[in-house]
Amino acid sequence: MAIMKFAPQALKNLFLKPVTTTYPAEPYVYPERSRGHIEISIDDCISCGMCVRACPCGTLSVDRAKGTWSIDRMDCIACGFCVEKCPKKCLTMVPGYQTPGGDKKTEVFQKSPEVMAAEEAKRKEAAEKAKAAAAAKAAAAAAAKAEGQETPAQ
């Protein structure tokens, strides 16, 4: 009888375990690749700003002087473009979705003082090197100039 086509399946469904789960009580196991949210190992970050330029929704910002990396989780669409673009691979996409909330707030990651100090030292060293190079160049130029002046006098 055509009218009873679905009846066996419907009866079977009555005695099957439900396919749904009681979610908050029974936590969901996300697959490994699930694009939940972005995490950063901030001490590896070189504050290059590639992620800021890549982000399609402009949710990231980087402050090089303060050594911070910040994200507005509510604006993030979890596309993973910043993860792909990061040259140091310090950004990772991890499972676990952003929880709903009443207000938007920016999450700020601060580099540790040791890393900041190391960076500062490096920068100083580079600056000194540059200074020394500039001084050497200036000296060489002056010497060349002096030589140049000497030549016509001869």
Binding site: R33, P56, C79, E84
Partner: protein, 360 residues
């Protein structure tokens, strides 16, 4: 002649989850004319081209629609690749085909469920969505998102599908096929389903041709059109024939979509069998797009149209997406003429409307 009156239908309606508004001119219980109006959810995604570069636009294009998101991203990327003359690695092409077909499967299963819900067969509705959940699990496992994939990029794909995952997909396909056979029999032979679908909203092939309808909606009226035959992605390597029906009624549209789910299972099996072994996923893309291209891809709902025009800067000059529903709305209005008022919800559903992506 009975008394004429106008009934505003939508944009919010219990059986119709899409915000389309239709003014129905009715004569007693019979619809004489239908005047559609859209525009409740225009988001202006196309205007983002002057603020986002062409790589970022991939993610914007993808978010045009929640259901066929992968195919939007793929269509956009293929258009840009054509302009820039980039040849995508073979494995990336096959992976694109794989994901395109899983998204077709879940879209059709969603529609079949909604159809069952539309004519009041709740049990069948849940059954369809239960099967769909397995397809969504594949997508979440391989791409990281249940619906929004974000695996496309200009020049290839971002993620590989491992051999274990391919095995899992094959096993899931067997399960899905077994469960679908029960559903298929119910859809095709159940008395209550037939009484609501057979002979309702008939459109002939000539009408389809005049109105420019696309996709399963057109194929149900005997028009053999399937953009996958254009041979984008890995479709040249896949053996398939478009599924058509000659009846042109709601039952035929249900038939075409149901059989397309089985066809997708077959295509996925072929893709996995023919998957190239080399692991190249993407080629590096240098420079900016300069030129224009018209790209057409077959989405679950029909032919989608991408027009991309670049001017040699990172920002494109114009990106235009014409979604299948945009082309099907004239057909819908023609179909609604001379039908019973009680069938309207079901009839609108049978074009598989996606108004959000229509307005972009």
């Amino acid at each position: 002649m009975g008394k004429r009156s106008v009934i505003p239908y939508g944009p919010q309606h219990p059986v119709l989850p899409e915000p389309v508004h239709i003014d129905l001119v009715v004569e007693d219980e019979r619809v004489v004319e239908a005047i559609p109006s859209i525009g409740f959810i225009h988001r202006g995604l196309e205007s983002l081209v002057d603020r986002r570069d062409f790589n970022q636009m991939t993610y914007v294009a993808e978010r045009t629609c929640g259901i066929c998101s992968f195919q939007h991203g793929m269509g956009y990327c293929e258009a840009v690749e054509h302009i820039m003359g980039v040849e995508v690695p073979d494995r990336a092409k096959f992976l694109r085909t794989l994901w395109a077909e899983t998204s077709r499967m879940h879209s059709h299963l969603l529609w079949l469920g909604l159809l069952a819900d539309g004519f009041g067969f709740e049990n069948l509705f849940y059954q369809c969505w239960r099967v769909r959940e397995k397809v969504l699990d594949i997508q979440e496992m391989t791409a990281g998102g249940r619906l929004i994939f974000s695996v496309n990029k200009v020049g290839g794909v971002l993620k590989d599908v491992t051999d274990d995952q391919l095995k899992f997909i094959l096993a899931t396909m067997d399960e899905v096929e077994a469960e679908l056979k029960v559903i298929k029999e119910t859809f095709f032979e159940d008395y209550s389903v037939k009484s609501r679908l057979v002979g309702v909203g008939v459109l002939t092939a000539e009408q389809i041709n005049a109105l420019g309808a696309v996709g399963p909606f057109a194929r149900a009226s005997g028009v053999n059109v399937d953009m996958r035959k254009l041979g984008y992605a890995a479709y040249p390597h896949i053996d398939f024939e478009p599924i058509t029906s000659n009846d042109g009624d709601c039952y035929a549209r249900c038939y075409v979509r149901m059989m397309e789910v089985f066809q997708s299972i077959d295509i996925i099996r072929q893709v996995i069998a023919k998957m190239p072994a080399e692991k190249d996923l993407a080629v590096a893309v240098k420079g900016n797009p300069d030129g224009e291209y018209f790209m057409r891809v077959e989405q679950p709902r029909g032919e989608a149209f991408y027009y991309v025009k670049g001017n040699g800067t990172p920002n494109l000059e114009r990106m235009r997406i014409r979604t299948p529903t945009f082309a099907n709305i004239p057909g819908l209005c023609e179909m609604l003429k001379n039908t019973e008022l009680a069938d309207i919800g079901l009839l609108i559903l049978t074009i598989d409307p996606c108004i959000s992506c229509t307005e972009r």
